[in-house]
Amino acid sequence: MSDAVLETRGLSKAFGALKATDEVSLDLRPGEIHALIGPNGAGKSTLIAQVSGALRPDRGSVRLEGRDVTARSVEARARAGLARTFQISALAMEDSVFENAALGALGASGRPWRFLRPVARDAALRDRAMAALERVGLQDAADTPVSALSHGQRRQLEVAVALTLQPRAFVMDEPMAGLGADGSRRMTGFLDGLRDEAPILLVEHDMDAVFALADRVSVLVSGRVIATGTVAEIRRDPAVQAAYLGDSA
């Protein structure tokens, strides 16, 4: 029907009586950054979990490049071209920065069943991992264990791992969280260029970043999308102002 890279239709998920996701239909078009905003507990992460496959919806569907992936696992969706970053960094903490990036490269290669030759001697893996680290500025920290990284560096590594996948779509859950003004600005600049490689569904609380980056914004409140539109449209929308933006609009 559309040329959307990623699309949800009537997605619904309840936790007991709580409707965490309520008839959500969204799409992510080529080349765009589609921001998903909403107050704490609105259901953004729950929606991301259903898009990425970690959580089964009660109803509705998820399509990736036109194919219905609703019943497919996280791994299958990743192999089909979906790369997500986590709100709370999910990295192998004891491993080095390089090893975490190499894991992404290994996933992208689809060939984990190699038991004897060291990763360090696999030039293709190494180059792909290092290229991603360089893009986020972590190349000098390649040998540092993740546990020794600053919070901001971990956010960068999250993005670097997603980059190694060379995906068809990015789904990012609060990549700026806890970055500080400076880090936020740098990440904003980086994501700005990234949309040309693959569109980004961006969950973000940082309104400066959202307003600077988003081609379109969807506002989620209590599991429902109450508005979708350009930044200007969203800022003007009275329902959004009432429900969410309040005085900051």
Binding site: S52, R114, V119
Partner: protein, 327 residues
Amino acid sequence: MIRENVLNAGILLAFAAVPLWALWADEPFTITLATRAAILALAAVGLNIALGIGGLVSLGHAAFFGLGGYAMGILAHHAQTYAPLEIGPLTIAGTKSMPVIWITALVASALVAWVIGKLSLRTTGVYFIMITLAFGQMLYYFAISWSAYGGEDGLSIYVRNGFPGLNTLVPIQFFGLTFAVLLAALVLFAALRSSPFGLALNAARQAPARVAAVGLDPARLKLVAFVISGAVTGLAGALYADLNRFVSPTMFSWQLSGELIVLIVIGGVGRLMGPVVGAALFVALEHWLGGLTEYWLIALGGILLGLVLFARGGVIGLLTGKAGPHV
């Protein structure tokens, strides 16, 4: 890194030196103890693949140790009674050849590990520990009731099985053989750990959601690790049975599964040489303290407690001054 390599080489040299000294001093029993330590180390190197890299706390690895033991016992029993083994339409001659027995032990343990792993890996944490324990106990009781192969009394094999080019009845030669197998397993462990598979498995222990998010299936990685792990422990079981020329259901006992975990924790979880140091200490303490008092396990418990509380990397972590990668 360098220091750990130097330490590792030193440990192996010391390990090999003990039976050589015993040969010179004419202390054959010490050679037997060293052989026992090498075999327990081999079993624990196998467990260390699942436990140390994959984070799978299996309290049922005696299942594979016992299977390896019975693979040896059954094949050698049929060889010494000249009665072929009949499974349905198949007739298999018994054998006294170690290579054939080893392959049987490896294959049988791998197959059973696949089944146990497939069923156990649906669970995690304490449930995984309990379900692997339950499978181990199932095999234990099965062995007890298996009267064709001695039931509770087990099976005695009169002459140690043979290996081409060696006289396995000579203690130092049998030690050399087990030590070579241990070295091969250590090479395998080191290779696995730094391979693409090892990278993914190591990450699956720490951050399974991340592994799935890059398109790899953490459960399958762990299953394959469990199969390799079980196979190595099964091979150790075959050697252990050959050391004692005897197999019995106690090879399946949960105490043995527990001891394997204990000696990995003592040596250092996930460390290449952790199982070797742990097994050597375990056998040495068992011999010396066990000769002094029945309560030697209390001393072992004290050492274990001290290491867990104050040196989470086990003895290897303590000696290299690096905290363990994990416990």
